[in-house]
Symmetry: C2
Subunit: 579 residues, 2 copies
């Protein structure tokens, strides 16, 4: 049936009684594709019926449907002209994993961060009302995403604005991991009482509320959507769905199958197990040991325990020393500040892309008073970037501009562990560490005793290359290439990327005439520009290599690096030409 | 009595029956000092009894008391050893207007942005529990601050964490202006039912709840605080206070007296009325006229309608075309994105310091899809900065790094209006405008037709000065001074500060050897560094003038400018030395 559906109009012509079969077909297609290519399996399995019902009842793209995060839009894509990208392996890469207006008029926003759908829908509805248009506006938000403060701001404003806005709360009792926060007890009570519990969170905010327990029953969903469709006041439909619905391994372990690498559909076992040493394991092993000997050490996550390696059994083992605050990056940073002020030492592990939510809290709550917390910034290297919605480009811009915050970029495992050990044992500063990608063992990259001063790794002359963290291996290759041509450049590990080591920079000015900087991050506002400014009025040339191209949804790391000049050949040629 | 209170221990020795007299004394002291020096009058008048009761019942600084925003800590300062700074005009400047750990151990955090107290208190309580300490943790948050998403994240996490945390919701029925958002109806119902209304917002989040209607009765407050003091689960005390309590003009117009300039205490009339032309009036007049002819134009504020001049009667006049989203900067930006996508044109006016809350939404929701909204960034110039808690330093860092977002810096009224007119009538881009300080009338600063290209204002040679917006007048003075010495520098208005005009920069490279950049904002990550990087490998010297010193709580604009080298003499001398 699926391949016959070129648009939602086709879907509407299918007799309602056949829809469960369509849903079953969609489910099998999801499992088949994702088991081959990887992707967000469990969330999409949970919304097969919901998405089908939405496109059956509403008239997109005239009616506006906004999926929060949009990692659960695979079914939406299938039903809006993009089925082939799911049914035909040759076309698997035709669509990306998030909604994307460049891909289809049915996708309204390029999305990937949580908790924004309500604000976006509120704006769409206001635009409709100002223009006296008549279409419907629907937002679909998961229970997990509702832990983000922006979702609350959105609910509050939708309630005040009024009019036809339908909010589907897709309650699958899970965030990526288990949910955390007081309001989840409210959802639990609402589920247990068929929506009748006292002190209804949504009603408290002034929203109408309906509970639908059968969130994986397409007929029940069509019925409730038809009922609410023409509401004149904002209405929450709280539906209960099953994360991973219809695929036993995902239902059994929805956290593992939230986003999954390729797996064997028969068993649910991952096809490839990465056994190389990685920073997640290194981080977990270090923290776990430290926490045992220091009860004041607390690890924080904001709904994404994976980068620091805190799987369920490890979270349980850590007990009170591990806190998942929900998808609440703003709270996480201010909470860390409170912990630090109170004499504990917090470690907050977070993807750089999501830490963008905390720019103000990093400034105001954490660093302004130099509260001693440690932040571990994951994914801000070329292999950690997941396209335009999950880029790790702007961490140096952000963390490199905040007074009193020390941002460190290790180049090796040894350097990383030394920084981490130093950071959690000092009480003077707010410290962030840019966790690199590839694990490089290099005992020589240690300072004797940690200091944030830059370090000359290879002493040369004429040309100096300053390479930030994950860009260091590329710089080493450039040095090797130049060595073969008889040129002996200096290679510098800056260690700290929020403050310049002016003493060292002044020293190398004496016997160097060309400085190259290299960082896997945005050029504009980054580390290299600070170096260019420092040497601006001296007779030294500076060239900054950083990213100048925006990430696209379907970016490929190597192509992207090449586009931005991050190749041994290009950098070497630049140096040969400009020395 | 007040001058006898050197610390809260002294306060505790005062017989309870005398406390109303003390409160009356405090109130008069507040009115006297603020009428002379200006300050946050109405919020402090509202919490005289609450603060007295808190220090009577709790044992700070062992017990931890966190005031949200901390603009209402004047009374707290009086009762914790700093009374002289309020009673003795010679000492009026001894303390600043926000809590400040450098000032007193009773002040736990340097604070000034809203909605953070709950996260901070949650962290303090967790640190206490990890260390098996026994003190109390209290957060005081206004009804206005509860519209911020971070406050919701804090409530959620406090409920989950459990233990002794007391949350005082200081409900004075006001934010800076009137409140907006669905949850305010809940507060209204709770007040009307003496706390008994259905669907209690706080209980919905899993918090215990007590209502105290007499928030300006010190005895009633002591009673309820004593009752809750040793709670073992997080408890909200919802108290009803009167903003401006005890001073008739402030009670009548609490918005005007939220923060006030010096006034005549007898009449409440402001002593000085600023009649010079200002960008608030200019902005309002322009927008108001445009909105009348274009019903799709919407002005948004996040709880601070003052910068765009939308006073109460003007808000009423604007009707559906003015939206106050509450203190919800994250929502505001995504809401603007939704409006823009839906075909309306939003104008969001906001202080740069508060826009730090929206870094992620600016990236992801607004600019990633180039949704055409206009942002007006106020206060990001030296005279708009209110110390370390309200600095406007980081807007260029922030907005200058976001792909697809055009950040413009007008140097004159004419240039500003041209940019604004262009921005709201285009549909291609997200645009932000850095609203300057001093209104300069300069019809010659117009492009014929607006383009974002830089403009050579004075054509010279050898030396070029590129001066951003509010720094332009200083650059002009430098040019004048150099002219007198027979030097003819070029003066450039960059117009756009998020992208470089590479054509113009390349052109001036031919006959200039020294480029000076000047911007009122952080040097690190700012505009000047982009210029330094651009010229990095050319034979042109670049020197960036920007702010390198952090703002202190009690900063003075002129001293600060001098410290950072922003004087005609210093810049001229630099040029003479380095040309």
């Amino acid at each position: 049936m699926l391949n016959q559906i070129k648009n939602p109009e086709n879907l509407k012509k299918i007799p309602a009684k056949n829809l469960p079969d369509l849903c079953e077909e969609i489910r099998q297609v999801l499992i088949q594709k994702i088991s081959t290519n990887g992707g967000h399996l469990a969330p999409n399995l949970g919304v097969v019926e919901l998405t089908t019902a939405l496109h059956y009842v509403f008239n997109a793209p005239t009616d506006k449907i906004v999926f929060d995060v949009s990692h659960q839009t695979y079914v939406h894509k299938m039903l809006t002209g993009r089925a082939q990208a799911f049914t035909d392996p040759k076309h698997y890469l035709d669509v990306n994993g998030f909604s994307n207006p460049k891909e289809s008029p049915y996708d309204l926003f390029t999305m990937g961060h949580t908790s924004t759908s309500l604000s976006l829908a509120c704006g769409l509805a206001k635009a409709r009302d100002l223009q006296k248009q008549k279409h419907h506006v629907v937002a679909i938000i998961g229970d997990g995403s509702l832990s983000g403060g922006q979702a609350y701001e959105g609910l509050n404003n939708i309630a005040e604005q009024g009019g036809n806005i339908i909010i589907i709360v897709n309650d699958n009792e899970m965030s990526i991991a288990e949910n955390h926060g007081g309001y989840y007890k409210n959802l639990e009570k609402l589920r247990a009482t068929n929506g009748k519990a006292e002190d209804n969170f949504f009603r408290a905010l002034g929203l109408d509320y309906i509970y639908e327990p059968n969130g994986n029953d397409v007929h029940a969903l069509i019925k409730v959507l038809e009922k609410v469709k023409n509401c004149t006041t904002p209405t929450v439909i709280h539906i209960h769905t099953i994360k991973g619905c219809g695929y036993a391994p995902a239902m059994k372990n929805p956290e593992k199958f939230h986003y999954t690498a390729p797996f064997d559909p028969a068993t649910g076992k991952h096809k490839f197990i990465n056994q190389t040493e990685n920073y997640t394991d290194i981080t977990y092993q270090f923290i776990e040991k430290q926490m045992q000997s220091d009860p004041k050490l607390v690890t924080i996550t904001s709904g994404t325990p994976n980068p620091t390696g805190f799987e369920l059994n490890r979270r349980q083992k850590a007990g009170l020393q591990f806190v998942d605050v929900g998808i609440a990056e703003e709270h996480a940073v201010a909470y860390a500040a409170g912990l630090a002020k109170g004499g504990a030492h917090p470690i907050y592990g977070v993807q750089g892309s999501f830490l963008q939510r905390s720019f103000d809290q990093l400034h105001q709550d954490l660093a302004l008073d130099s509260n001693p917390a440690t932040l571990l910034v994951f994914g801000d290297h070329i292999h950690g970037m997941g396209g335009s919605t999950h880029n790790g480009f702007y961490d140096i811009v952000q963390l490199g501009s905040i007074p009193n915050l020390l941002y460190l970029a290790p180049i090796s495992k040894q350097s990383y562990l030394q920084m981490l050990d130093w950071a959690i044992n000092q009480t003077e500063r707010s410290v962030a560490i840019r966790v690199p990608d590839q694990v490089i063992n290099d005992p020589l990259s240690l300072n004797n005793k940690f200091t944030a001063n830059s370090r000359i790794v290879i002493n040369g002359n004429e040309i100096a290359i300053i390479a930030v963290g994950s860009a260091f291996p590329l710089a080493q290759q450039v040095v090797d290439t130049l060595n073969k041509k008889g040129i002996q450049p200096t290679l510098i590990d800056p260690i700290c990327i929020s403050e310049l080591d002016e003493k060292l920079l002044t020293k190398i000015a004496k016997n160097h005439s060309l400085i190259i900087t290299l960082e896997e991050g945005a050029l504009a506002g980054g580390f290299g520009e600070k170096i260019a400014s420092f040497y601006g009025d001296q007779n030294i040339k500076v060239h900054n290599f950083g990213f100048t191209t925006s990430l696209t949804a379907d970016f490929k790391p190597n192509t992207f690096l090449k586009q931005n000049g991050f190749t041994v050949e290009n950098i070497t040629n630049y140096i040969l030409k400009h020395r």
